[in-house]
Amino acid sequence: MSRARAANRGNVLLNVEDVSLAFGGVKALQQVSFDVFEHEIRAIIGPNGAGKSSMLNVINGVYTPQHGRITFLGKVRENMDTHEAAADGIARTFQSLALFKGMSVLDNIMTGRNLRMKTGVLLQALHLGPGKAEELRHREHVEHIIDFLEIQAHRKTPVGRLPYGLQKRVDLGRALATEPKLLLLDEPMAGMNLEEKEDMCRFVLDVNEEFGTTIVLIEHDMGVVMDISDRVVVLDYGKKISDGSPDQVRNSQNVIDAYLGVAH
């Protein structure tokens, strides 16, 4: 972590304490604790089946853990639906694309603004008064995101027709449109070629810098993780085995064992 980034760091935004999650007999997460600071880029890594996605789904409200406590913005979270988490300021992208395939890039990202819209359906439909003004205001915000992600040329294209790398950007754009305080990225670089990965890295860093968004990301590509994250949590078989700066984690014996295997 560079000195400038360290100085920029704020208070604790998200605190995960002692979280356990099981599906029947399968223990997906066991007593995992970690925290995320404001403006930080926090990575969760681990071998396949380590519980990374489960962790993200817990933060995002898809799963409710059997034990443990999650504090977001200083409030302890009770049972919560995904859409409520979104309303509180937690947005996410998906590992396997989950875009609205029939809709244009613009419409996909506009759906992210729904949360912030207030005028009634009738005014919206007739494009009258406050309805029109509001649509325009949100449209402006979305255009800004489209410029930011450099997908201006594809504004009207149905997302189903875009190449994979661009679809990933639209996914990111849709999440950004909700103006999240915490952005969860589920393997943002999975399946990308080198050039696409570099682009995505740049976008993630820019989002963090320009919008000040806190980011929690899951990633397989170790190089990427070490380059862009401030701190890293390592999970293995549902347990936290290491937590610290990329350098600390890289040199941890636990982590080396988990990734390379140990002689028994």
Partner: protein, 337 residues
Amino acid sequence: MGTYLLKNWAVVALIAALVIGMVLPLATGISAPGFYFEVMLGGLMSGVLYSLVALGLVLIFKASGVFNFAQGAMVLFAALAVARMSEVMPLPVAFILAIGVMAIFAWLIERLVLRHLVNQDAVVLLMATLGVSFFLDGFGQTVWGSDIYQIDTGLPKTPVLVAENIFQGGILINTEDLVAAAVAALLVIALAIFFQKTPTGRALRAVADDHQAAQSIGIPLNHIWVIVWTVAGFVALVAGVIWGSKLGVQFSVSLVALKALPVVILGGFTSVPGAIIGGLIIGVGEKFAEVFLGPVLVRQFDLAGGGIENWFAYMLALLFLLVRPEGLFGEKHIDRV
């Protein structure tokens, strides 16, 4: 284009057969032009009703993946509500109250049925709507009675004669039918605007595409389902009123509404234009089959005749299932292996 036609020869042949079948009676002079167009208009009118019921099916299927077997029962229930309430109050008031009734029904469905069956197999949800369908049929009669009721829209029922100077005899048209067609068209346009232009419509389309992603950006599924069932209830109400004013409100409405099933197979389960065009094709097709094909069959094979209208739609749907399972406008499903 050429290769496309070649690859889909069966579909092309089926559509060509339909078109030829429709033009043939006029082209061969079997029918006088006036009579031909009257039959066509009659077909279009029942087609509009099929379309409206099918529209309700498509809306719910798109937003929640549920095939709503109860759409026909909803048409009957809504029509009964309007018919009985309009006996004691002006029709517009009864109509607005009936919208409220359908909205409450939508809310109850979400609350008591859908919410508890999220993520279950499609067949479970189908069974649930089948149950709702029978409940609604019975409950409607318990509340509103089981006689045949009339909805009097106050429109003149006297037919007018048009195109008299174009061909001999002209065409007889019911004013009420014209108004009904216009209302249906308006409804479709309003729905299109609602879906394409409003944020709520956008949210509905988003939910239709991907539940999980829609939730992740803060769209609450439960609200969306209530909205979509309310809209489907409203469409059922309009269909019910048109139907009721034309033929009277009676139990058979619920059964005739089953014709919406072949309509969505023809048009595609996920396509709003498909529901409209499918309804019109089936409405006209079955009337033509009854009026023009029937007598030919009777003469050629010495049959008793009649009854084609009842099975034609299902036969056509079956043919479409064989050659184009996704329907005319539906999304093609490609399963990755």
